[in-house]
Amino acid sequence: MASPKVAVVGAGVIGLSTALCITETCPSCSVTVLSDQFSPNTTSDVAAGMLIPHTYPDTPIHRQKQWFRETFTYLFAISNSADASEAGIHLVSGWQIFKSTPKEELPFWSDIVLGFRPMSEAELQKFPQHQFGQAFTTLKCDCPPYLLWLEKRLKATGAQMSTRRVADLWELHSEYDIVVNCAGVGAHQLVGDKELFPVRGQVLKVHAPWVKHFIRDGDGLTYIYPGIHRVTLGGTREKGSWSLSPDPGATRDIFDRCCSLEPSLRAAQGMEVKVGLRPSRQCVRVQREILSQGGVKLLVVHNYGHGAGGFSVHRGTAKEAAQLVGECISALQGSSSRAKL
């Protein structure tokens, strides 16, 4: 098999980073990214892109930690290079605060982010309604810049990008040897995964360049994430809602909650309201599958279901998916050489 043809379905952070990893591990592959949406219209574009992991209930912690560590290391190197502003990657410091002390004071990722420590009494004075907090420095991936940078790097390898709505993976079996499913929330429809459900998130993006720190309430509902040009204010977590329309009541509520943590936001300008559907699952599905239909086989690698933690683990899962693609190629080469015999 001279040049395996790989299709990657989905052009959010998972699809693009997976495609890029495949070009890195298999330079002879011809890679095509297929998606009905590209940046700035993907779910990833709505996200703030903060590297603060979400915990998946059914994925072993050591695996989540490995994914996060790989992602953090990869982005840390970019943030420290001349590419940082084009890629949209930058360091940001801040606080995660809790109204009551959490059971787990040291999350699994505390030794991967920088300078993690409990907040001092003096620091907590800024948040009179909160008893406990953690201070640390982490990374932020601003979208669209990060996705556009991934697209640029992909094109430089010769990978193709094509706007196309894939309704069924079998549509691709005649043109491609391997299909990589990074369809995010679309996987619910595309592969009929009933374990995949949306968690609707509404956010506001405002101009408030004097806000230099992130602030996150440990309950996950209220957060302030300063990006390169705008600050993301959040949010909502509505399980099972498929609605992409902004809700004005939620807008007022999000703004008020954020202003109570950071009063200077009252002077913020230029508010944009965005909605994204977190592609949620009890565990991230990074897995090979061989689909069968009337004697024909289709090799599939899944990489979806990252929910609220896509950016935090994207590079780690992309590398794992690329490895699985490598295994598919070996299997194909093995069977094609057997066929020759």
Binding site: A82, G88, M119, A122, P263, R266
Partner: protein, 331 residues
């Protein structure tokens, strides 16, 4: 009671505000007038980035450390007020970098969250093996000076507040007051969210690159030339600042330059904050000197303004006790 304040930088305007706030209710005819050759946005205070950070050591000058603390606490108290944005006041965290271990600074317990840098953090800054992380405050002169002016609704001189900064020597010779010339490059680099200040203990304070992100642009600097009165931008200094800051933060290579500025830090071995009775013929005035704040004027301003106001209060006390109350000729 007529008071002249000479100087409209952060020291002059804050001293005026402090005295106004404390005494305008007590002294019905209190008139405060600010005199200066430059007003915002053309003062030395406007050119400064606005970061609250004292020098590394207070050289045993505990008074200045106390004034710094008073200023920090005062500003921190205003952080959540609706005025904060108008004042140009916000929290900022960042890094101080060294090539060797150094003692903790006098201000370690004034700022928030002071700690040493971890090995992983030091990987960000090749060439530096030791450093601090802390959360401090920015107070941008471009916003703060107009705010100070507006706060003080407006209304022969009995008292002169000499807040003339670099030019104090023209009013009264002071060989201890010397310029500490600085130059800065202003760039657009909104992805930089931390201040980064490097230190070269051999070359002295602010002669090593620093990056300070403001609310509209980021300031790159690293020049401190004692005795240099030139306010012209130097090409050689530009190159030093640009090359050394880009080495420190490679991402800056892509930043757009939007301005450049040189200013003279009014440097003195210690701040001159004291009273003096000045006599010219049969005319007498009380002078309160408040100048010589070097590169830490914003950092120390409120503590000094409060001290100047206390001296003013003493002057008022003395004038009340003067018998008979003769309205003599004023300066």
């Amino acid at each position: 009671m007529r008071v002249a304040i000479i100087g409209a930088g952060v020291i002059g305007l804050s001293s005026a505000l402090c005295i106004h706030e404390q005494f305008h209710g007590l002294v019905p005819s209190l008139e405060l007038e600010v005199y200066a050759d430059h007003f915002t946005p053309h003062t030395t205070s406007d050119g400064a980035a606005g970061l609250w950070q004292p020098y590394l050591s207070d050289h045993g000058n505990l008074q200045e450390t106390l004034w710094n603390k008073e200023t920090f606490d005062y500003l921190l108290g205003h952080l959540h007020s609706p005025a904060a944005k108008e004042m140009g006041l916000f929290l900022i965290s960042g890094y101080n970098l060294f090539t060797e271990p150094v003692p903790d600074p006098s201000w370690k317990n004034i700022v928030l969250g002071f700690r040493n840098l971890t090995p992983k953090e030091l990987e960000l800054f090749p060439g530096y093996s030791y450093g601090w992380f802390n959360t401090a405050l920015m107070l941008e002169g471009r916003s703060y000076l107009p705010w100070l002016t507006n706060r003080r609704g407006r209304d022969g001189v009995d008292v002169v507040l000499n807040c003339s900064g670099m030019r104090a020597g023209e009013l009264q010779p002071d060989p201890e007051l010397q310029p500490g010339r600085g130059q800065v490059i202003k760039v657009l680099a909104p992805w930089v969210k931390h201040f980064i200040i490097t230190h070269d203990l051999k070359s002295g304070i602010y002669n090593s690159p620093y990056v300070i992100p403001g609310s509209e642009f980021t300031v790159l600097g690293g020049i401190y030339q004692h005795g240099n009165w030139s306010e012209e931008n130097s090409a050689k200094d530009h190159k030093f600042i640009w090359d050394s800051c880009c080495r420190l933060l490679p991402a800056l290579q892509k930043a757009k330059i939007v301005g450049e500025w040189s200013g003279l830090r009014p440097a003195r071995p210690s701040v001159r904050l004291e009273r003096e009775s000045v006599r010219l013929g049969n005319v007498q005035a009380e002078v309160i000197h408040n100048y010589g704040h070097g590169g830490f004027g914003i950092t120390i301003h409120w503590g000094c303004a409060m001290a100047a106001a206390r001296l003013f209060g003493t002057i008022l006390q003395e004038k009340k006790q003067q018998l008979p109350r003769a309205p003599g000729p004023r300066l």
